[in-house]
């Protein structure tokens, strides 16, 4: 298919671009296969706006006489408005944008066409292999092994080819366990707490059904994460009644009789359309231009967004607490084990593991606990808060995770190597990107699409020193401790960096950021100078002493 077929009008002149907190600009609008490009006519300050079609969530058109107006609402929550003279031109452009921003086929997406303008130093597709993670693990324990039982994705289509499992479980047993777990997602190691040897595993729900099926291998697998004589916790991300209802559909939960060493805790985390609706309501509230404080607060409350944040953080803290304070191993699952489960296990690692608070460690966490673990990015991030499609598989699950990280970051501003921009960047790329990293729903699909061969990895770009410097937190000082965030409502705030990003003037906050960087930079320069001088002095003095002798 040629994109040209979809582009009815490739270019329009005398278009006016409106953005909040920017003066209106007049210029030329061009449509290409993947971008909407606006360039201002003024020669002195040639301003250009490049917008990926895949970033466009929805468009609205309006006419006033022959002047058409298109409001473009993006997945990164930005809203821009284009005034296009000429009704036909405007209609053509609107329908072209609509067609180009809703392409069905993944292989038509921009990452398959993007040619990087930078030199790839390190190929991001092989930056974070589970084998490396396992090597790290083997240096502290030998209770776990790498299993290739899923190498052709036949045991569990949403798992990666290699997983880490207890050493005592052979591949044959794993196959049996996979049959007992929803979607074949048998329990695998998510995190090993070096401090006390406790493990966090994740899986999907067991398929006990109404007649209470059991699976000896599953029990064995789960128990092999326990130290002798110790108990463990199953954190079920559904409320008890939902877990009970799931039995009617063949699902279920671990029953005490068969798992006597485990105690089950139900921590309810919302999912799917409830989250999407909450997201839509919150964004709507944030775009409400009225000056009414009551209205704002009641809309904020009605969106329930912060409630979801609080619940999620609480569940993650609970998991971390079981491991670190109770000295117990933990198994986390909900129904499918691809959403709330991953939120909990990845956030718990942020709390427990200082490595995950570094840039590289966080990237590894996203790869391991989200991409390889089979979070269906393609489905979940198909549309954002302005979409009218309301498909039930769309949900801001990853965004919620990022926001929780931000909440912890806000409470421990010196303990993270990366800054807020880094998290916002990940949010953007999960929804629309020139890189192939977040395409597909799992490793299986990515392999079929040959993404590593045909597209560029986000990490290849991010990890270049030029880019990295933008994402570094100047306040960072490695902190090897477990960090326990407060989950009280007073301690949680709306993530303005995402939700008010386009609606607030950023100048003053940027100045503050720059000032922070300057203060620290100056300090480091001075330190270097002082140290150099000291060395010089010391040398001169020893020389002198030598001479004297």
């Amino acid at each position: 298919m040629e994109f040209a077929e979809l582009i009815k009008t490739p270019r329009a002149d005398n278009v006016t671009l409106h953005r909040p907190f920017h003066p209106a600009v007049e210029g030329t609008l061009c449509l290409t296969g993947h971008h909407l490009i606006f360039s201002s006519r003024r020669h002195d300050n040639a301003e250009e706006l490049w917008l990926l079609h895949s970033n466009i969530d929805s468009i609205e058109k309006r006419f006033l006489g022959s002047l058409g107006t298109i409001a473009i609402k993006c997945k990164d929550l930005r809203i821009i408005q284009l005034d296009i003279p000429g009704m036909e031109e405007c209609l053509n452009i609107a329908s072209s944008i609509e067609a180009l921003s809703t392409l069905d086929s993944v292989t038509l997406m921009y990452p398959f066409f993007y040619r990087p303008m930078f030199e790839v130093v390190e190929d991001g597709w092989s930056s974070f292999l589970l084998e490396q993670e396992f090597e790290h693990l083997s240096s502290v324990t030998n209770e776990w092994r790498l299993s290739c039982v899923n190498k052709d994705f036949s045991v569990c289509p949403s798992y990666p080819p290699v997983v880490i499992v207890p050493k005592s479980m052979d591949d044959e047993a794993l196959r049996k366990v996979a049959l007992f777990r929803h979607g074949g997602r048998f329990p695998v190691l998510s995190y090993y707490h070096k401090k006390n040897g406790m493990a966090m595993m994740r899986s999907s729900q067991p398929l006990t059904g109404t007649n209470g099926r059991r699976c000896k291998e599953d029990e064995k697998l789960v128990n092999s994460a326990l130290r002798s004589g110790r108990r463990g916790f199953v954190i079920d991300t559904r409320p008890l009644h939902v877990a009970q209802q799931a039995r009617a559909k063949g699902g279920g939960f671990e029953q005490e009789v068969y798992y006597p060493q485990w105690r089950r805790i139900h921590k309810y985390i919302e999912r799917f359309n409830i989250l999407q609706e909450s997201f839509i309501k919150l964004v709507e509230a944030c775009n409400d231009q009225s000056h009414n404080m009551d209205r704002w607060l009641s809309k904020l409350e009605a969106s329930n967004w912060l409630t979801h944040i609080k619940e999620l953080l609480t569940a993650a803290c609970l998991a971390a607490q079981c491991i670190d304070r109770e000295g117990a191993s933990v198994l986390v699952h909900g129904s499918e084990g691809t959403d709330s489960t991953l939120q909990v296990t990845s956030l718990a690692q942020i709390i427990l593991d200082p490595r995950c608070r570094t840039i590289r460690g966080f990237e590894a966490l996203v790869v391991r606990e989200w991409l390889q673990a089979g979070h269906p990015f393609h489905q979940r991030c198909a549309q954002s808060a302005y979409s009218n499609s309301k498909q039930k598989w769309e949900a801001p699950v990853f965004l919620l995770f990022l926001e929780c990280v931000w909440q912890i970051h806000r409470q421990f501003p010196c303990s993270f190597e990366f800054n807020e921009q880094f998290l916002i960047m990940l949010f953007e790329h999960a929804y629309a990107s020139q890189f192939g990293t977040f395409l597909g729903n799992n490793e299986n699909e990515r392999a079929k699409l040959k993404l590593p061969q045909k597209t560029m990895s986000l990490w290849s770009w991010v990890n270049r020193p030029e880019e990295l410097s933008r994402f570094q937190n100047p306040l960072y000082e490695a902190n090897s401790l477990v960090i326990w965030p407060s989950v009280a409502p007073q301690s949680l705030q709306l993530w303005e960096g995402v939700f008010l990003r386009w609606n607030r003037p950023s100048k003053f906050l940027k100045e503050a950021e720059e000032e922070t960087i300057n203060i620290i930079k100056y300090n480091k320069e001075l330190q270097a100078k002082v140290n150099a001088l000291r060395r010089q002095l010391a040398e001169m003095e020893t020389d002198e002493e030598a001479q004297e002798e």
Partner: protein
């Protein structure tokens, strides 16, 4: 009283045993804990209410709520002791004479000269000169020199040059409590001014020629504009109701060239109830997000803050952008008017955003113009209906602005919190009484100390590390965003939950940057010394005896640098489900967090906070605030030792 238990508000089982002492000025609770002997001091004047609750098997609970938002829950074993404490505190917390207040016994060991010097730090004459008055349009008037015209105004008042004594006196007779229009802020750049007064006694039809002439005179003092704004900060309905009582607002028909404007800020009673409601939300035990947000909305607090800010923004805009003078009043012109004038001044003039300037601003718009500190903040026992958090709201407006303009203010959040504290503490004489007249009669300056001098002495603690006097947001008028979708008015947990440190960010960017800056300064000094020595060495090849000293200095510094990262932190109660699971061995968890125990040494010093000003200490030594300079003392209430118990207890 011995064997008293101090309860933790967040979890009833986290309690400590200790001894309760009552002194003439403080309530003191000393923990029994052998090593730390942690002390909690509360000034009597900070006590806002005492509640004796029903006796239980464990003893008699006593709940003390403080004006600085601290809540203390005690359980006293004997009902009789509890009753005695209760009765004594009720009496002690409600003094009837000014002489009973702490500032008359507080002695920071300064000599007379230092004390007098302290009172000269903020000089309003100097301030009016700085603004550019007196000049061709404005002059100082002595009509009120012995408080003859208006007893709640200061003696020295700036009025338009064309306003004769006759006009002033005539106008004052037509204004509530005779608070005639007087200058609050003068804008040198364009001659526009902010004046303040009380409501006119216009009733339904009354008018007063002198008052009309007074407003004319204000307009004429600004030749660049042919009208003035008259801003009534009350809701229209309230102002209209006042007409029935012979008061009211200016009739545009009677006054030539005025534009009249209502800005609906609610009265002190609404504000008092609003704060009350918000504090109830703060006190909820483990509230859900909805409880909290709903309660916050329902309290209306942020709405009121926004209303005050909007009024300030309106006036600042009129003065700076339109070049039009503004007369502001409410009913008596000492609450809402003070709030709005000071917010507008703060937006207009960068000077008020410096530490010294902020003190001047409070002195000018609040203290000198007769804001009724004694009544509003209940220093002496009085009518509870007079109490209202008027200046608290102003202080919060400043904080909200600091959130929006992080580099614009020379001072930090701590400065605001300490000022709020001392408005209630009565430890310094600045905020005593209801007017300048009363303060003079009481000889405040001869008998008490000035807060401003005290804050100034410790100014290093109150600096905003991001402030730079040449920053774009430091200069000129601030233009804040006003719609909630453009700027978030936030709940200020640093103020209203300030004693629940667990709710606050565990690492403070401000403190961190302050420490870095301090280190930078030391480095600069050292660099200079080193360069000097290098030069000397190169010249004379001598002087190697100092090296060792310097190196010792250096190691001290690096210690300071890392100390900020010591985190004392324990999990909260994330779940009630865990407690019934009996697998926990008692010893575990202690040694793991040994890094945390480092901070225990500081417990004693960190907790007393502001309330701990014993007579021996010279004023506020809020050690919890001093981590940047204090080396290794990041305050921590939860350190390693007791943390393990704390974890799983359910409320």
């Amino acid at each position: 009283v011995e064997n008293v238990r101090l309860l933790d508000r967040l979890s009833s089982r986290r309690a400590v045993l200790g001894t309760l002492y009552l002194t003439a000025t403080h309530v003191i609770f000393v923990e029994n804990g052998s090593e730390t002997r942690k002390e909690t001091w509360v000034l009597h004047s900070q006590i806002s209410s005492i509640e004796k609750q029903a006796t239980t098997a464990t003893g008699c609970p006593l709940l003390i709520r403080c004006k600085n938002f601290q809540v203390i829950q005690l359980v006293i074993p004997q009902e009789r002791d509890c009753h005695d404490v209760y009765i004594s505190l009720i009496r002690l917390a409600r003094p009837v004479k000014y002489e009973e207040l702490y500032c008359f016994s507080f002695n920071p060991k300064l000599d007379k000269e230092e004390r007098e010097q302290g009172w000269t730090l903020v000089d309003l004459n100097e301030e009016y000169n700085r603004m550019g008055v007196p000049n061709n349009y404005w002059q100082i008037s002595d009509v009120n020199r012995d408080y003859g015209v208006c007893d709640s105004y200061p003696t020295e008042i700036y009025v338009p040059k064309s306003a004769t004594a006759h006009i002033i006196v005539g106008s004052s007779k037509f204004r509530s409590r005779r608070r005639f229009p007087a200058l609050s802020y003068y804008c040198k750049g364009n001659n526009a001014s902010i004046c303040r007064s009380s409501q006119p006694l216009s009733g339904f039809s009354a008018r007063c020629l002198e008052d009309e002439q007074m407003l004319q005179a204000i307009r004429k003092a600004n030749p660049g504009s042919d009208f003035i704004y008259v801003v009534d900060t009350r809701p229209k309905l309230n102002a209209m109701a006042n007409r029935a009582a012979g008061k009211g607002y200016e009739n545009e028909d009677n006054y030539s060239n005025i534009k009249f404007q209502f800005i609906g800020i609610e009265n002190i009673h609404v504000m008092r109830n609003s704060l009350q409601k918000m504090l109830e939300v703060c006190e909820l035990k483990s509230p859900s997000m909805s409880d909290f947000l709903w309660g916050l909305e329902n309290s209306g607090w942020l709405k009121h803050i926004k209303a005050i800010m909007d009024a300030g923004i309106f006036i600042a805009k009129a003065v700076a952008e339109e070049g039009v003078s503004v007369l502001v009043h409410c009913s008596d012109g000492w609450d809402r008017t003070a709030q709005v004038c000071s917010v507008a001044s703060l937006l207009l003039d960068p000077y008020y955003r410096t530490m010294k300037g902020f003190m001047v601003l409070i002195e000018k718009d609040w203290v000198s113009f007769g804001h009724k500190f004694n009544h509003r903040y209940g220093n002496l026992d009085g009518d509870p209906k007079e109490i209202s958090p008027v200046i608290d709201q102003f202080i919060e407006c400043v904080w909200q602005l600091m959130e929006q303009f992080p580099c614009a203010f020379e001072f930090n959040e701590r400065f605001l919190i300490h000022i709020q504290h001392h408005i209630y503490s009565c430890q310094f004489g600045n905020f005593l009484c209801n007017s300048q007249k009363e303060r003079r009669e009481l000889k405040i300056k001869e008998r008490t100390y000035s807060l401003w001098a005290h804050l100034w002495k410790n100014r290093a603690d109150y600096l905003n590390p991001l402030y730079k006097s040449d920053h774009s947001q430091t200069q000129g008028t601030l233009h804040p965003q006003i719609a909630p979708c453009n700027f978030l008015y936030k709940f200020w947990s640093g103020m209203y939950n300030r004693f629940e440190k667990g709710l606050h960010p565990r690492q403070s960017v401000t403190d961190y940057l302050m420490a870095v800056k301090e280190e930078t300064q030391q480095l600069e000094e050292e660099l200079e010394i080193l360069q000097e020595r290098l030069a000397n060495l190169q010249k004379s090849q001598s002087g190697d005896n100092k090296v060792k000293n310097k190196q010792q200095d250096r190691s001290k510094q690096s210690g300071l640098y890392t100390s900020n990262n010591i985190l004392a932190n324990t999990p909260q109660e994330y779940s009630n489900d865990l407690k019934s699971f009996p697998s926990r061995s008692p010893s575990q968890g202690d040694e793991e967090d040994s890094a945390l125990i480092l901070t225990q040494d500081n417990l004693k010093s960190s907790d007393p906070d502001l309330s701990a000003n014993s007579d021996q200490e010279s004023g506020v030594e809020d050690l919890s605030c001093r981590s940047p300079s204090g080396g290794g003392c990041l305050p921590s209430e939860d350190s390693g030792k007791d943390s393990d118990e704390a974890v799983f207890l359910a409320g």
